[in-house]
Amino acid sequence: MTTTMTNIMMKRLRAAVGSLALIVSLLIAPATALAQQSPAPAQPPAATDQFVPMDEIPEQDKLPAAPYLITAYAIVWLMLLFYVWSLWRRLQRVEDELKRLAPGSSVADH
């Protein structure tokens, strides 16, 4: 009985290891082929080991400030306008419902 169980377990283990090996080989093969085809990656620029002032950075390495600034201001505007609009809508909806439920009654001030 014990021998049969051990045999079954060994078979399952072998099947699992076999499947794993197959999956790994399937994953590795295309990656290896791709690596052989692709050209060598460009070397990154040499790292600086000291502080470089902003005005000495090469022009191509500088990020333009205006798009970030304009985006930031636009997002603030849009978020606030959207919030005011959403609050106005929610208030109007509740007030309409209050009017519908209790016509003629004034809403208690908070």
């Binding site: 600034l69 606030l80 439920l101």
Partner: protein, 222 residues
């Protein structure tokens, strides 16, 4: 009421926010960061109000837990929502500024991380209020007190830990030529905050009134 209440808000907000960029454009460039530093005028006031709103929410929640007066709960909900809104502004404008100034959008430094944590606490508060069911108001009030306790920590963190973020001494030592634009923006945001807090509290009060009317109608039907 809605039109009467919201017309001045929209007019005031439109006027102040339309004229703020004029003052900001007249303010001088900061010597090391240049133009991108002008995000400061739309980044710092919401950051201050996020922290203030967190404290308002915590205090109102504590008062609600002590007195069980609904008006404190309404203020707490309003302040939590505004803390989330102003926090969102901070968490969007900050990374845009950082990308240019530091070369990265985000860094897990203490000021940025604790601000995100505070934002998440108030997001959790609002989710709890929305989906928590009966009794969630008291549970959420406890969360709000934790949020309020976190607010001074967020503010002071830059003075205790080494961070990329500037310290709290920036505003007291601000160049005199930058002050008019900064205080104008701060005032504009503060005014907007107060009006929105009032409007949002009112919405909460009216929702409570609506609930009472429905409950009374249910009792009558029985």
């Amino acid at each position: 009421m809605t039109t009467r209440f919201f017309t001045p808000i929209i007019l005031l907000a439109s006027f102040m926010f339309a004229t703020a960029p004029l003052l900001v454009s007249q303010a001088p460039y900061e010597s090391t960061m240049g133009m991108i530093q002008k995000i400061f005028y739309y980044h710092v006031p919401p950051a201050i109000l996020m922290l203030v709103s967190g404290v308002v929410c915590g205090v109102a929640s504590a008062r609600y837990l002590m007195t069980r007066q609904k008006r404190h709960d309404h203020t707490a909900v309003a302040a939590a929502e505004l803390s989330l809104i102003f926090g969102s502004i901070v968490l969007v404008t900050g990374p845009l500024w950082a990308r240019k100034a530091w070369g990265i959008y985000w860094d897990w430094d203490v000021r940025l991380t604790s601000t995100l944590l505070l934002w998440m606490i108030f997001a959790a508060y609002l989710l709890l209020r929305r989906f928590g069911g009966p009794g969630s108001d008291r549970l959420a009030a406890g969360v709000a007190i934790f949020g309020a306790a976190n607010s001074p920590f967020v503010y002071w963190s830059v003075n205790v830990w080494r961070t990329l973020h500037p310290k709290t001494s920036v505003i007291p030592t601000l160049a005199p030529s930058m002050r008019p634009a900064f205080y104008y923006c701060l005032f504009a945001f503060l005014l907007l905050y107060l009006v929105l807090l009032r409007a949002r509290s009112r919405l909460e009060a009216q929702r409570a009134l609506l609930d009472e009317i429905y409950l009374a109608r249910d009792d009558e039907d029985r």
